[in-house]
Symmetry: none
Subunit: 252 residues, 2 copies
DNA sequence: AAGTGGTCTAGACCACCAT
DNA sequence: TGGTGGTCTAGACCACTTC
């Protein structure tokens, strides 16, 4: 019975993650220069004393992060790409983690959580009734408002959030606060992006004219059980906000 | 020497991809209802007569597509959502691979690749001169046009693509054709989404009125070396197209 | 306690690239 | 032809959920 269970190098952290972190650090430190070859799987295997499978799991992480690319029969190469930003409030969003924190912006409460009757929203959250808790907030960047967001949660959760003073002026997000009150972690969100002509109410709050084209982004957050936790509907002024994301190659 | 090499079920297609496709079809056909449990790894293993590793590779694909989610100790669940695909062409895009193929739509060439002088575009592609090759196409879904796209590549590449009859009527994408002419693979794209009021020319071609809010999506594709290969600018009619994506938790 | 997904090992054959 | 990454098997222990 061969069962060499190699103890993870750190408490509770899987070996492949430890290895991936090490390689990531090496790449960012320039140990393997851009466009050049990385060590082969075989080498990594013996150097770090793990199985090939573990090596491949580590490389898979770097691959899906776009740090490396691989060519069958040839080798593994460092790929690297720079970043840039300026002007408008540009956010690069590729995963949920980047939404839960929303740095450098301020929240302004237009309307705290109160129960309203909105069957279509309740149905989106798959609630067995027609009431939901709704709050409206506005976010600003450098003092200039750029988005109006309506948050919808089930009434119970809305009451708890309201009791904690959420949404609150300053930093933090509603979904971030909601997660702390839940047993299951937020697992993901389904997002839909479209354009619409600004209604008067929204236009005034985000600093544009009625009829101007604005971005509408709707998100449905769900927890690990697949239960929907929050629905948000955000109206963005496109001159003050740009939705940017990086698309990466997956497997092949 | 145990070496049961199970022949892939199809010509050259790996077993895990075949299995993933099968499961995807089943999910979309509603064989496993939303929010309910999928078969366990152990069951899939024996039913499809493959190793557990192969099963996990297949499930990994569905996981990264957001079709399923998994809870340790509990099981695998379908996270799919019913689509309200009435008339609109709804796409769910999470990775580059889903862009390179664009099923069920038709391409119409408005203008083939020709060299034009556009300094701002050339600069976006980081070309050392001000000329670029430009082509304009329109895509339709079920016979109804919904997007007008301008493609920009460096003049050399544009000439080669033109010689191959790209863009062409029918299926296939420009970036897909371009990749075949390159030495390095397409690695990713930087994408920016915003809204604008439709100019007259675009409005007419995508079936809306001038001034209507439309979606503008710009993409800058780059290869494994980080070299920019193509820039595209697409104007979508939001009533006929919806940009949908799944945001997932990364590390946790 | 039983069952599920998460991690890991050892070893094999294959497809492809470089020489 | 030898080396590299791609695919696959068999089996093991672990962490966690569920009963």
């Amino acid at each position: 019975m061969v069962t060499n269970k190699v103890a993870p190098a750190e408490r509770g952290v899987p070996a492949y993650k430890v290895l991936a972190e090490k390689l990531r650090t090496d790449i960012e430190a320039g140990v393997y220069s851009v466009g050049r070859k990385m060590p082969t799987e075989s080498v990594l295997q013996s150097v770090h004393n793990v199985s090939r499978h573990t090596v491949r799991e580590a490389l898979q992480i770097l691959l899906s992060d776009g740090l490396i690319y691989r060519v069958q029969g040839s080798g593994t190469y460092v790929s690297g790409r720079q970043q840039d930003t300026r002007g408008r409030y540009v956010r690069s969003i590729g995963s949920l983690d980047e939404i839960i924190v929303w740095p450098d912006t301020n929240t302004e409460v237009i309307e705290p959580f109160t129960v309203v009757v909105e069957p279509s929203i309740a149905s989106r959250l798959e609630l067995p009734y027609i009431e939901v808790s709704k709050a409206t907030v506005r976010r600003s960047f450098e003092g200039i408002p750029f988005v109006l967001t309506r948050h919808y949660v089930e009434p119970d959760l809305g009451a708890k959030l309201a009791a904690e003073g959420v949404p609150s002026v300053g930093e933090g997000t509603v979904i971030g606060a909601a997660e702390k009150l839940l047993t299951k972690p937020i697992m993901g969100a389904r997002q839909e992006i479209t354009a619409m002509n600004a209604p008067e109410y929204e236009a005034e709050l985000i600093g544009c004219q009625a009829g101007d084209a604005i971005l509408l982004i709707e998100r449905l957050y769900y927890d690990a059980d697949g239960k929907f936790v929050e629905f948000t509907s955000s109206h963005f002024n496109p001159r003050r906000y740009s939705y940017r994301m990086e698309l990466r190659r997956r497997g092949a």
